[in-house]
């Protein structure tokens, strides 16, 4: 009898998960297509699909193919990358607030990218490279500094916040030194934006998402086991430190490449995991659902930022303003429950 009940519950949760995933996929695709359709000129879905299929459509080929398509693809990729990186950290440290945009890893990538642009005057792939190296170095620094008879999650988060504050001031300094004509471009490194997306950025980021994403997905079971605590996980056959280091490298790589391409889009890393957990319920890995939520968040926020207000806002401002109340709610709820803090 009780086996039946358990089995029924498992089936119900699996159905819910599949339903939520399917809905998310449909929403992402729909938003993606809408993003390609609307703008200064409206193109019907047929034109958009023909451009994607590679046919030449007068007008639409340039507007959709060269302007809107890279922007939308970059948005999806950045959303996926931020979300995967964020949910990995949240799962690993068992704290929804331990996302890379709060504990300073995004700040490391951001500071390095701004330094590369304003001081070294480099562009393109070099910026990505510098950002990735810096983000990894930041993550390593935070890890080493918080290591004292093992790493305690709380100490790591606090030290991350300290590092974030320091890097933030470095970014401020570089921005003050930046020439006025660089300012709009530089603001991107505070807020995150999809403006001026190009195919070369898309290529770089898609390679990174494919490589690191695959690495993360292949470790998703071990990551979930890590949530049970180090002792339980190693009893179940997980090599704890090795898994942790691999997973950290993959997550940091995703965050760094995404930050180098779009700037730190606020709260996507932080929000995607908790939202996904709400949607799919308590079953299975959160990696795929969170990635879908991240892509959807960035697409919707970019659409809203471009067309919903009197002036055009970069996507990071919209996600920031949308994310703020949710963040406060999450803090209040977590503190009330007295749970993971």
């Amino acid at each position: 009898m009780s086996v039946d009940v358990l089995a029924a519950g498992r089936t119900r949760r699996a159905v819910r998960r599949r339903g939520a995933l399917a809905t998310l996929v449909v929403l992402v695709v729909a938003t993606f297509v809408v993003t390609l359709m609307v703008g200064q000129t409206f193109y019907p879905p047929g034109d958009v699909l023909r451009v994607i299929a590679g046919q030449t459509v007068p007008g639409a080929s340039f507007t959709v193919g060269e302007l809107r398509l890279p922007r939308a693809v970059l948005g999806v990729l950045a959303g996926v990358a931020f979300a995967l990186g964020g949910v990995t950290f949240q799962t690993m440290l068992r704290n929804p607030l331990a996302s890379p945009d709060i504990i300073g890893i995004t700040h490391g990538a951001s500071a390095a990218a701004v330094f590369a642009i304003t001081v070294l005057a480099v562009s393109g792939a070099v910026i990505s490279l510098v950002a990735v190296v810096a983000a990894l170095a930041t993550a390593m620094l935070i890890y080493v500094l918080s290591f004292k008879d093992g790493v305690v999650g709380t100490r790591l988060i606090l030290i991350g916040i300290g590092i974030a504050a320091m890097l933030q001031s470095v970014v401020s300094y570089l921005l003050v030194r930046a020439a006025t004509w660089d300012l709009p471009a530089a603001m991107r490194w505070i807020t995150g934006s999809l403006n001026g997306a190009t195919w070369s950025e898309v290529v770089t980021l898609s390679v990174a998402v494919a490589a690191f994403g695959a690495l993360l997905l292949s470790h998703s079971r071990r990551l979930d086991l890590l949530q049970l605590g180090d002792d339980a996980a190693s009893a179940l056959g997980v090599r704890v430190e090795r898994t942790r280091v691999t997973v950290i490298i993959a997550a940091v790589g995703l965050i760094a490449f995404a930050t180098a391409a779009t700037g730190p889009i606020a709260f996507v890393a932080f929000l995607s995991g908790p939202i996904a957990a709400r949607l799919v319920g308590p079953t299975g890995s959160l990696l795929v659902p969170a990635a879908l939520v991240g892509a959807l968040l960035v697409l919707v926020a970019d659409l809203a930022g471009q067309f919903a207000f009197g002036s055009r806002y970069p996507v990071g401002v919209v996600t920031g303003v949308l994310g703020a109340p949710y963040l406060v709610y999450l803090l209040i709820r977590t503190n009330r429950a007295g749970g993971s803090l």
């Binding site: 988060i157 916040i161 703020a324």
Partner: protein
């Protein structure tokens, strides 16, 4: 027990109360160093000024570039000292009030609160007077820090360092987005804001000093009046009540005093991080835990730290300069990490 924080140095808290003559000697020595730092701050700067020009700036009416530069350094030095002293005292009071060694105006969200209030004031209400800035900044600072503290103290264990730091970081992130949302369509405000945002004392004038001084004096007086009460609070709420202290009154008064100090300082100098964090710890090591001595010494060490940081920022990056807020962040963040590592942070 509502307090979950354990200071590693707690066992020798009792004998960290030094005899009064020793404290006075330390304070005097500190004052001497401060005077020296102020002299350095006037003598050294981005522009290299010879001895003769330095003397003539004070003794004659000569109006060369060198003399003007030196004269401009005087209000700047005064402002650095005032702001540093205010932040030091505010930090000491906030740490005593929350019994939290990581309490700092920046971490408690005071600074972003003041920034958001000032920016919305400029953008939506045509705020333009300097006194108006200060009032708005103080209000914003008070609201933001009350908010952060409120969220951080929900749930079990009261306001633990981690909860406070997280709710502060979260609120800062949220406010930063709101600030960008307000600023981005307004390029003119954005341009002036980016200079305010780094925190500096370079734009000091006597007028500015005069405008902010009354606020700083009021805030400092409130804080000093609370120092005995803060000593009782350090024993825990129950014991303080038993000693006849009105705990809530002390809390609110000390909070108002501290927020007035750092709100006004932020309004005039921009956000300057970590001074309020570092200074009280240094002073507790030197002077002990008695707030009646701690607050004056925090004022002095804060003034000293900011003056020296300002001189360093002017000298290392010639012919340009590094704003003092950045110098303090570079010095302060490692110190913050050191304090975190010294804490016995509970495992999750």
């Amino acid at each position: 027990m509502t307090v979950t924080l354990v200071r590693t140095a707690a066992p020798d808290d009792a004998d960290r109360r030094r005899p009064v003559p020793a404290i006075l000697a330390l304070l005097l020595a500190g004052a001497a160093v401060l005077v020296l730092a102020a002299a350095l701050s006037v003598a050294f700067g981005t522009r290299v000024v010879g001895w003769n020009d330095l003397v003539s700036a004070f003794t004659t009416d000569a109006d060369g570039i060198a003399e003007a530069a030196v004269r401009q350094r005087i209000p700047r030095t005064l402002l650095a000292m005032l702001v540093g002293a205010s932040l030091g005292v505010a930090g000491a009071v906030l740490q005593g009030l929350t019994r939290n060694p990581l309490a700092d105006p920046m971490i408690l969200g005071v600074t972003p609160g003041a920034s958001l209030a000032v920016v919305s004031g400029i953008a939506f209400f045509g705020l333009s007077t300097a006194t108006g800035y200060i009032w708005v900044a103080i209000t914003g600072a008070a609201l933001a820090s009350a908010f952060v503290y409120g969220i951080g103290s929900l749930g079990r264990g009261g306001p633990t360092p981690l909860k406070l730091a997280l709710s502060g970081a979260a609120t800062t992130a949220a406010f930063t987005s709101l600030i960008s949302a307000i600023l981005l369509p307004r390029v003119d405000v954005l341009n002036s804001f980016r200079f305010w945002q780094v925190g500096g004392v370079g734009g000091a004038t006597y007028t500015k000093l005069g405008q902010v001084l009354p606020f700083l004096i009021v805030g400092a007086l409130i804080c000093i009046a609370c120092s005995r009460g803060l000593n009782s609070l350090a024993l825990g709420d129950e014991l303080a009540t038993g000693l006849g202290e009105r705990v809530m009154v002390i809390r609110v008064a000390a909070f108002v005093g501290a927020v007035t100090l750092c709100g006004a300082a932020t309004a005039v100098a921009g956000p300057i991080a970590f001074v309020g964090l570092v200074v009280p710890h240094v002073c507790r090591l030197l002077i002990g835990v008695d707030h009646r001595w701690l607050l004056p010494s925090a004022a002095m060490v804060g003034a000293l730290l900011l003056t020296v940081a300002d001189v360093v920022g002017r000298v290392v990056a010639r012919p340009s300069e590094i704003e003092v807020g950045i110098v303090t962040a570079i010095i302060g963040a490692p110190f913050f990490i050191y304090v975190v590592r010294k804490q016995k942070v509970r495992a999750l």
